[in-house]
Amino acid sequence: MLRRLIRPISPSARREERIFYLFILPWLIGLVVFNAGPILGILGLSFTDWRISFQGLNFVGLENYRTLFADETFWVSVGNTLYITVGRVVLGTIFALFLAILLNQKVPGIPFFRAVYYLPSVTAGVAVALVWIWIFNPQVGILNHSLRLLGIKGPTWIHSTVWVKPSLIIMSIFTVGPNMIILLAGLQGIPKELYEAAEIDGAGAWEKFANVTLPMLSPVLFFVIIISVAASFQNFTEIRVMTQGGPGESSNVLVWYLWENAFVYFQMGVASAVAWIIFLLLMGLTGIQFRLGRRWVFYEV
């Protein structure tokens, strides 16, 4: 390794190397100042009793972690985060794949439909979260009104401790646009010959899907799932605007728990511990997925 690093290289290669580092310099600075530094900083802070001012900052060892693990709300928020993440990722990925397959059909007007399906993804934010409060309104909301027309008495959605998490999952289904496009690109990358060969072997639509589409698409699906898990962990806007972690603690997710500890109770040390746990949990989940991925992701040889 060292030998390779000190191996003499030509002046032109050296110049190219200098330009490489010059070009990535802004990103490198950002990496150190805004990412790597903070991640280490937060680890340090999670061992202190820091509140909002730095005066009287004490090293408390694992005290914050002990406090966290003894706090029932913390475990509730872990459970809620996992519930919403699994729901969002499973349903969202299936739905995105379904839409991508639809958009991959050879019918006129596809660019139009692609735009329509993508639309809610670009407008996601406070404005649309506000609309969803109104859609989920138990009395005058359009959702329960539609259900009533079908003879179903709808639940109270975001005002119900049971339904608030499904509500958030339903809402997230509308923002699968990016995944849909990534999967669509993946579908279009599958060589036609494979389908033709399957047809010659007498494969039906389902067999073609199960034996050609899914294996060929599995690397893209894997990518989509990894990204979706990460995105689901960071879902703050909807919680803040629509539920504020409620009713009760039924939509209190880790990010909300972090926010409350840091900027409502000013328990910065505890909040730092939460941040570090979010980071570890996400890394752990990603690691597990890579491990499982070895079994189901098919890479062309």
Partner: protein
């Protein structure tokens, strides 16, 4: 984080041998079935907009009417100015300027810093490159919230709290996802073009400016649109760093409005919400056309 899609055009049916080989009748049925799914789903996806628009145009008694009506009657256009100027407590015009200023700065910052890094990762040879690329991929997954508190501390030490700086400076230092996507696009630009330019004596700065950037317009436009959407909708950052009402951005202003009048003036709030969504809608509609054009020009990919 919303992540940018990879824009791509579906293949044209024309000239597709399999199309003609299949039986016409079965084909027609398949088309019909596809539309039977495409259209209801399309309607479903515009429901939130429809609700927003129709609520924005209703009178106050009508929004609480039971059973709810979908079509406003009468149509109250006055809700738009009434909502915007509201009760004079929230200055939406000023909020819009703040949002616009931050968004434009961040698009430019992101494009400049990400283009440089993407070019380096796609086209330059250097020792240690693979290690840094690995780090880049890993940071794509780093949750913003995990680094939020130390960033907050950092900006407080710098005295940047309650200014736009914490929102406007970091975009000049790259965004891992954009760097990655742009690098993927840069990799598709033929090596021969670069070699030809090198023979002509062009340096890397010139190759980047005169070959890569012009050829990557669709990719850059796509990234610009994502940066616009992400920054325009950004809620967490402004909520965290900004205190003074005069420097607040649109999403936070909307939430303040919700806090003040949220339980009664839904029609006015939806009117303001509609206005805030319009720039994103326009850009998206414009961008759609750009995607399509971009695919047409990407014949160079082969």
């Amino acid at each position: 984080m919303t992540h940018p899609p990879v824009a791509q055009e579906p293949r044209k049916a024309k000239g597709d041998a399999a199309w003609y080989r299949s039986i016409k009748g079965r084909r027609a049925l398949a088309v019909l079935l596809t539309f039977a799914l495409l259209i209801p789903l399309g309607i479903l996806f515009v429901v939130p907009f429809f609700v927003m628009m129709s609520t924005a145009l209703k009178t106050k008694p009508q929004i609480f009417q039971f059973p709810p009506s979908l079509i406003p009657d009468p149509i109250v256009w006055q809700n738009f100015p009434d909502g915007w100027y509201g009760y004079g407590i929230i200055d939406f015009t000023n909020c819009t300027w703040n949002s616009l200023k931050i968004t434009v700065n961040n698009i430019v910052g992101n494009l400049v810093s990400c283009t440089l890094a993407a070019y380096a990762f796609a086209r330059l040879k250097a020792r240690g490159k693979n290690i840094f690329f690995g780090i880049l991929l890993a940071t794509m997954l780093l949750p913003n919230e995990a680094v939020l508190i130390p960033q907050y501390v950092l900006f407080r030490i710098l005295g940047w709290n309650d200014t736009h700086l914490p929102l406007m400076v970091p975009p000049w230092f790259g965004w891992p996802f954009f760097i990655f996507l742009l690098r993927q696009f840069f990799l598709t630009i033929p090596e021969e073009l670069v070699d030809a330019a090198k023979i002509d004596g062009a340096g890397h700065a010139r190759i980047l400016l005169q070959i890569f950037i012009p050829l990557s317009k669709p990719a850059l436009a796509t990234l610009a649109i994502f940066a616009f959407v992400g920054n325009w909708n950004n809620f967490f950052g402004p909520l965290l760093y900004l205190r003074t009402p005069e420097i607040q951005t649109l999403p936070v202003c909307l939430v303040q409005y919700q806090g003040a009048y949220g339980n009664t003036d839904w029609n006015l709030m939806m009117a303001v919400a509609t206005i805030t969504v319009i720039p994103v809608l326009l850009l998206f509609i414009f961008g759609q056309r750009y995607f399509v054009e971009g695919i047409a020009t990407s014949g160079v990919k082969r």
